[in-house]
Subunit: 153 residues, 2 copies
DNA sequence: TTGTCTGCAAACACTTTGCACTTTT
DNA sequence: AAAAGTGCAAAGTGTTTGCAGACAA
């Protein structure tokens, strides 16, 4: 089942309608495989040629629906929601560069093991987890070294 | 060094002043060892007998300072900032019950190992991490079973 | 006395919502 | 024709900020 098909099914199942706006949004979301926020998506929609557009509220509404439909995963970074593809995409976690905001994906099955072990220990029914390692990415590290160089000049 | 001493030092070092409000806030924060948000702290401050009070902006400002001073750790849950003691408190992660909002602490040195291994792999300089396992705590689980019981009646 | 701090009210960023109108079914 | 969706503007939330008066050093 493609993401679009899955979304259609999700909508149909709840008596929701397949509108031009929702189609445009899902198409735009799946045009690239990146992390993005509502504002970025809005900009990309506006860059799209074509007669249909989608307003900010519609974008927010549709993003929430896509999360509910299991198509997107949402995480909150620095006070704003960031989305990534979820459906059919393997479980993973993130390195977050607090200097440039870049998100680097990594997967470790150990994390899942720890999660389950800890949950069992606390009679806790785990439904998901989020591991974000913050720090500085290699690009920003070298940039920082360079500017330190320049400071001395 | 007690938290208070450390905060005093932090303030002095930056030419900041030790005001009644800051003293009141730090005292209130260290009265209990719990997770709390700005609004809860504000309520507790108001419950405090005494002539001095602190306004909402002052509470927010002071909480940020305490984070900078390394006394508090901040995390964001459901769109609001939640704080916990950090200074002199061992590294740990959390189980978060999405039903009642309870935070359960756990510590696993494996998480740190994974973090360092992944960081090395990506030439990433890790400064911290946050692992939150979401799900349902044991109390809410049994409550749920009970209400299912009642449904049948 | 000097400069920081406070409290107020207003601004803020992000997200959600009420409502009249449009569109899908 | 009925019901859901859209866009607009307005309202929400949690948090931050400009500024005049209060206070610590």
């Amino acid at each position: 089942m493609t993401p679009l098909e899955r979304f259609d099914e999700f909508l149909q199942a709840r008596g929701k309608r397949i509108t031009r706006q929702r189609r445009l949004i899902i198409q735009c979301v799946y045009a690239r495989h990146d992390h993005f926020d509502a504002e970025q998506l809005l900009l990309e929609l506006r860059a799209h040629v074509g007669s249909i557009q989608a307003s900010r509220p519609t974008v927010y509404r549709t993003l929430n629906e896509m999360v509910d439909a299991g198509l997107l995963k949402k995480m909150v970074l620095d006070g704003r929601a960031v989305y990534e593809h979820d459906y059919g995409y393997p479980q993973h976690d993130h390195l977050y560069c607090s200097s440039c905001g870049k998100l680097i994906e990594f997967s470790s099955n150990e994390v899942g093991r720890i999660r389950d072990a800890v949950a069992r220990e606390h009679q806790f029914r785990a439904t998901g987890h989020r591991l974000i390692v913050t720090g500085t990415c290699s690009v920003c590290m070298s940039r920082r070294v360079q500017s330190r160089h320049q400071d001395r000049v």
